[in-house]
Symmetry: C2
Subunit: 348 residues, 2 copies
């Protein structure tokens, strides 16, 4: 990596749960950073953050923040992205957006590097990072899609509270203590901070992530359905999702039923998964080995296990997919995209 | 209920989580009890328990315990049932067995009163109570089965630790405190107390309930598959299950995908469920109302919500089914069966 081109990088949402992981990964992965600009709301501006041996003062994100920036990573919510991404693009930055603002925009590539890295080159300034629960699922299913074809996916999720931000983690920990001490748990944030009704998350399972759409599915469920089809470039793919929040801090788990288009051997499927990029097969029932959220926390891989042929449909498989929702589900996928852009621009 | 016949009742496993609920329900429901015999292992024998205004000394369960007993409710594990139920039957008791010992025995009716109450009269001394996760699912699906027919069920469960007994509850509470205090969680019981490998349940999701069978499914999953077909008296029913333990104390939740044989209107399905015996429809997305484990805890009903038409298969529905696993999932279903037996014997 000598004589490497260095990039001016901006992180928007630098004080959020995902932004902090992005900064940590840029350092750990030794991303070729020249200037690093950390941007946030006016409220957090002025505070300082470490990046390698530098101490960087966080600035307020404004339309003028992006002069000279090569790559801007956004994770400060859809409204901020809708407002600032166009300015960043105009000023020449390639934007990697971790919000839902541009994901379904036909002009914007929606990228999981293990699945559709080829789409990156089609960008017109913005590359969208998919929803956390979608990323780990498509990363695990892509090798099966390529080898056998997939006709149908039915997924039920077990999602960590960190997906709803640092305040949701604090709320779950506070409620857990309240319940353990025999007191009433006071719900304040979850399931959706902007909606009026709150439910206890401690020692509970809440079948609502994001608001409801008119068809009875939530936006989180519709993201899994629509984004999976877009990332796989297959509008015929049948996808059904039920998204549930459970009292886990880091790591989304998914129970996935998948119908393949061709016959398969379970042993071949396991070999495929074991060799797939970004996937770690953890699947040994005899040893009670399968992916667990607590094991996946802090790791970059997507973990797959409980792979077994369906008993009523020999063309179908059941599996259990787990990954750290803040890493592969957000920060790591975004930094992976940034790494590909850096390699591309170096080669040009 | 004047001049009612009174029954000599035995509860085997009287100090267990389910046994305690059975005793409480017999009192609350004013079951026509003459003598109540509380039986347990030698270890717990000698301790006393309240039943209405009586104080009853718990005795050790032996083959001779059942002389004069009319109805015996067993929930002390499969081994105890296999050993003692034949003696109880021989001595004239009708046994309601809450273990898996006799469930798949072709001679033994497997009963959920809302589904197949007619099977009770076929008993030859033993009536089996199904597995907790099966009971609530078939109770909710029966009205749809009768009206439209069901071809396929795909279920992912979110099961409470109380299903693994009082020690598992204590373990989850202890681990939760350990993690909240920044210490290591020490797994000791779950996922399966008799197996060597233990996993942390606090702030985690464990995709293993009971041991693994050779086909890669767990016994818990096979119970849901096999028992559902037996209770519905339909060997053609296609059922797939993934059973997962989550950090909830009371109340199993289930994400259920179900394919019907005939066209339906979602509004009709909701009306059917709202009117079905033992079912409470809790389904108002606009008000963020859906079943929650914390709301179901301590209640006798099975709660159903998130009812919505599948987007890729117009003949399929998705729904969320929740019930207290110790009550409808165990003690209440057993006491319901006892009530039917009492009515039958009174009428004879």
């Amino acid at each position: 990596m000598s004589n490497q081109k260095l990039f001016n990088v901006a992180v928007v949402g630098a004080t959020g749960a995902v932004g902090e992981q992005i900064i940590r990964l840029l350092a750990e992965r030794d991303f070729p950073v020249n200037e690093l600009k950390l941007l946030s709301s006016a409220r957090s501006a002025g505070t300082k953050k470490k990046f390698k041996d530098r101490e960087i003062t966080i600035e307020e994100a404004t339309p003028e923040s992006f002069k000279g920036i090569d790559i801007a990573l956004f994770s400060a919510g859809g409204d901020i992205s809708r407002k600032l991404v166009p300015h960043a693009v105009e000023q020449g930055a390639v934007c990697i957006d971790n919000t839902s603002a541009f994901r379904m925009d036909p002009e914007t590539p929606l990228v999981v590097p293990e699945v559709n890295i080829d789409k990156i080159s089609e960008h017109k300034g913005v590359i969208a990072n998919p929803n956390c629960s979608t990323i780990q699922m498509v990363a695990a299913l892509k090798p099966l899609y390529d080898r056998y074809g997939i006709s149908r996916i039915i997924v039920s999720t077990y999602q960590a509270v960190s997906g709803a931000g640092a305040k949701a983690i604090q709320e779950m920990e506070r409620q857990s203590k309240e319940v353990l001490e025999g007191r009433e748990a006071n719900p304040d944030i979850l399931p959706v901070s902007s909606l009026p009704v709150k439910h206890q998350i401690a020692f509970n399972a809440i079948p609502q992530i994001d608001k409801f759409t008119e068809n009875g599915f939530t936006y989180e469920e519709m993201k899994m359905i629509d984004e999976t089809k877009k990332i796989m470039s297959d509008a015929t793919l049948e996808v059904t999702a039920t998204c549930v929040r459970i009292p886990v801090v880091y790591g989304h788990s998914e129970s996935v039923y998948v119908e393949l288009k061709e016959d398969f051997e379970v042993a071949d499927v396991k070999s495929l998964l074991a060799e797939a990029p970004g996937i770690e097969l953890v699947d040994s029932p005899e040893e009670q080995l399968y992916p667990l959220a607590t094991d996946a926390a802090g790791k970059l891989e997507t973990f797959v296990g409980r792979v077994r042929r369906d008993l009523s449909n020999p063309r179908a498989l059941n599996m259990w997919i787990v990954s750290d929702n803040l890493l592969k589900g957000a920060a790591w996928n975004a930094v992976q995209i940034a790494e590909y852009i850096a390699i591309e621009q170096k080669e040009v």
